[in-house]
Symmetry: C2
């Protein structure tokens, strides 16, 4: 299934309460006009009849609904969606060695495609409009094909592993890995009207050589691409890097060029005050994955301290097997809750959590000028939420509190990405979910058989 | 709106995968027959035509769906549902003094009724079939009326506060409080075919005199009623009890008769090894409220240690303003996740979490012989779940993992309480949600005005 190449029709979303996330954090009763994939205007409620007559425009009645910038998840592994529920209750190192790496090595082009489709379906239906994705070593083109078809905004990259300690089934010669990455970048970076972008994605310091990391830094700069990797997830990882390089992990990554606004580091759980100052100084993006950090027993990242120091922070669900959801609302709420026993109930209030999933995500994807807020000129990545269910009542309470603490993925009605309506009334419009479900299960069975889980 | 007095029709639920939670934790492909409010049989898949012809039986086709025992939440405050979102980001003591107590004091009979209806609607639609509820000081009869109408199984009680330090707007003379409690017990305990039960609910040790607590212990024993209170939620609470009684809180509660299988203690976050041994020895029910304990910054209760010691543990959402959901699936997942950074990723695995929300809840309500499993002879409190959405795929993974880590309240299709279909296709059958929403908002506005929030 391929996305239609025709330009999306102009849209008007009328009657919603609009959480703009603009610099003044305005919440407006306004209509949002979308043209050529962009937000053309956010203006006072129109006369319905005028809107109705607007030539060729599609009008979406959002009366009583909430309009938000599409949510951004800046760390996911779509290739792992088919592994959901196959790796519960294991620590990171065993989780990788016993389950995730053998399963990734068993992937085929088809299984990568349907894993991405299943993950993207869940993400879109739950209001996530943009992701930073790390695929496995092989078949990354198939993931891009899926993302092109289903309509999600994605910056994705093939996983790079060349160190002797990397798992043999996934390790590649440095040159080979870099060449395939550069080729994929040439094919996919900027495709689909810029909706698809490439990232360089070395897995993490212990599985990559310094040579590879240095080359990634140069290649990413040349291509104007994001660097996407993991850092400081567990003490074992920190000790490994210290032993092998003599350096603290963040300092080591910096020494090989993996730092700064172009870089997104997933996790950063085990970072001390000096590390936080370093991340803030560099303006490196931290991607907080609260569910994953709990489920793998990694810990609780010092996010309020990072925000106070001026760090850039985004949110992500990580892969399905360490969550086991890909649900931005779950991560939003948990990000706000999990800091409070340590720092008090006013730590990471609702408004700050919502910033991580919008502005923070946009920055991590290098798209702060294009997504993350509802302002004229931005790409039209939008989410329409129905908070009329009992779990989000009464209505008089603070709207941001209702969104962060009460709302859930199933409250999402409509989703627009790059000006195109990709979810309508809670259903995918660019892909057939019954086909995704059937094929995802078929390929998941084959993968399980291949590794005898 | 009152529940119809007619006996529920016999039902057959066909074609589901049945998570029995029986002593062997069997998961069966079976049909479940319901008669006179009870589970009459759990038997191998019937011939559909035979079932179809069964005289006077209603057949619910559950092909492809999951059938579970109804989930139990053993600590909620339905009277606080209208306060959702009005008390975010405050520590417990301020949360109580500045918001919750003034709002509770402002409640009227109508506002208590619609607060209970709104909370019960959310609970039923999310698969919770039974609760242990603490109301406010006044108008508890109105909450029972709501519970009678909407069809939830509930053990509820008026909050008792008679100590000088209790808030003046809610403090009552000891005799008056006990007399009203005994009168309400006489009216409501065992009503609606036993679906409604009374509990004695002193708020917590610092707001109750020893005289009241001792009387509660006697009255509860005489009436065969549950005692429902809070304990060991914050260090401030522990210090207060220590200062006022010279005793550790759990030891003090035991000395006034608040302990043992008849007692449910919400929270128990700040309990040491000696306290855990005490709770296990007494077989006192601990009600774990992981979201609430995070949101109020209270901490993380040592649940795995309690389970290892043989304690009885149930789950609960607590009141809407400290969560802000009343969602058993949120609590299930969080209970399993929140222990892992402290104790490792194999702490509180999915199966154990599900036991807390079924068997543990049944025990806390004193109903272990009647609910919590799907076995012939038990009351028919059942939940039908649709896990076909992308967030719970693929299907080959462990079913309990899919339920605990991936499923969400919106996956609930049908809910049966006491043999009666109270939710069908995700809609309430015994109450009109649009009326609940309208009235709940009306009374929430009045309460906010009364305290000028």
């Amino acid at each position: 299934m391929r996305a239609s190449p025709s330009p999306p029709r102009a849209l008007v979303l009328t009657g919603a309460r609009v959480v703009t996330m603009d610099p003044r954090r305005r919440i407006l009763d306004a209509d949002v006009w979308v043209e050529a994939g962009k937000i053309a205007a956010v203006k006072k409620r129109s006369d319905r009849r005028t809107v109705g007559r607007s030539d060729g425009k599609s009008v979406i009645d959002c009366s009583g609904l909430i309009l938000l910038p599409g949510l951004v998840q800046a760390h996911v592994h779509l290739c792992q969606t088919l592994f959901r529920g196959l790796a519960d209750d294991l620590p990171l190192e065993q989780w990788l060695a016993r389950r995730i790496w053998p399963l990734e090595a068993a992937h085929t082009e088809d299984s990568v495609y349907w894993s991405a489709m299943l993950g993207a379906a869940e993400l879109l239906l739950g209001g996530t409009t943009a992701i930073l994705d790390m695929e496995t070593v092989r078949h990354t083109g198939a993931a891009f094909q899926a993302l092109e078809a289903i309509g999600l905004r994605a910056t994705a990259g093939k996983c790079l592993m060349d160190a002797p300690s990397a798992p043999p089934g996934l390790r590649e010669p440095t040159d080979h890995a870099l060449q395939e990455a550069a080729d994929l970048c040439a094919t996919w970076h900027g495709r689909a009207n810029g909706r698809l972008r490439w990232c360089y994605a070395p897995r993490f310091a212990p599985s990559s050589t310094g040579q590879l990391l240095r080359a990634v830094s140069d290649l990413a700069e040349k291509a104007d691409a994001v660097i996407h990797t993991h850092a400081a997830e567990t003490p074992v990882e920190l000790e490994t890097v210290k032993r092998e390089t003599g350096n603290d992990e963040l300092a080591y990554l910096d020494s090989v060029g993996i730092a700064g606004p172009r870089t997104a580091l997933a996790h950063c759980v085990w970072v001390d005050g000096e590390g936080i100052r370093r991340l803030a100084r560099q303006q490196t993006n931290v991607v907080h994955c609260p569910s994953s950090n709990l489920k793998l027993g990694s810990g609780i990242a010092p996010i309020p301290e990072m925000l106070a120091a001026g760090c850039r922070v985004a949110l992500g669900a990580d892969g399905a097997p360490c969550n086991n959801r890909l649900d931005a609302f779950t991560e939003l709420r948990l990000a706000a809750l999990v800091q409070k026993p340590r720092l008090g109930p006013d730590a990471l209030p609702a408004g700050q959590a919502l910033e991580l999933a919008t502005l923070g995500g946009a920055r991590a994807l290098g798209l702060a000028g294009e997504i993350g807020t509802i302002e004229p000129g931005k790409r039209a990545d939008l989410l329409v939420l129905d908070l009329s269910g009992p779990h989000a009542q009464p209505e008089g309470a603070d709207l941001i509190s209702r969104i962060v603490y009460s709302a859930r993925a199933s409250d999402v009605c409509h989703v627009i990405v790059d000006g195109k309506l990709v979810v309508k009334d809670g259903r995918l419009r660019m892909a057939d979910y019954s086909e995704i479900r059937r094929e995802a299960n078929r390929w998941a069975r084959r993968l399980r058989k291949a590794i005898e889980v």
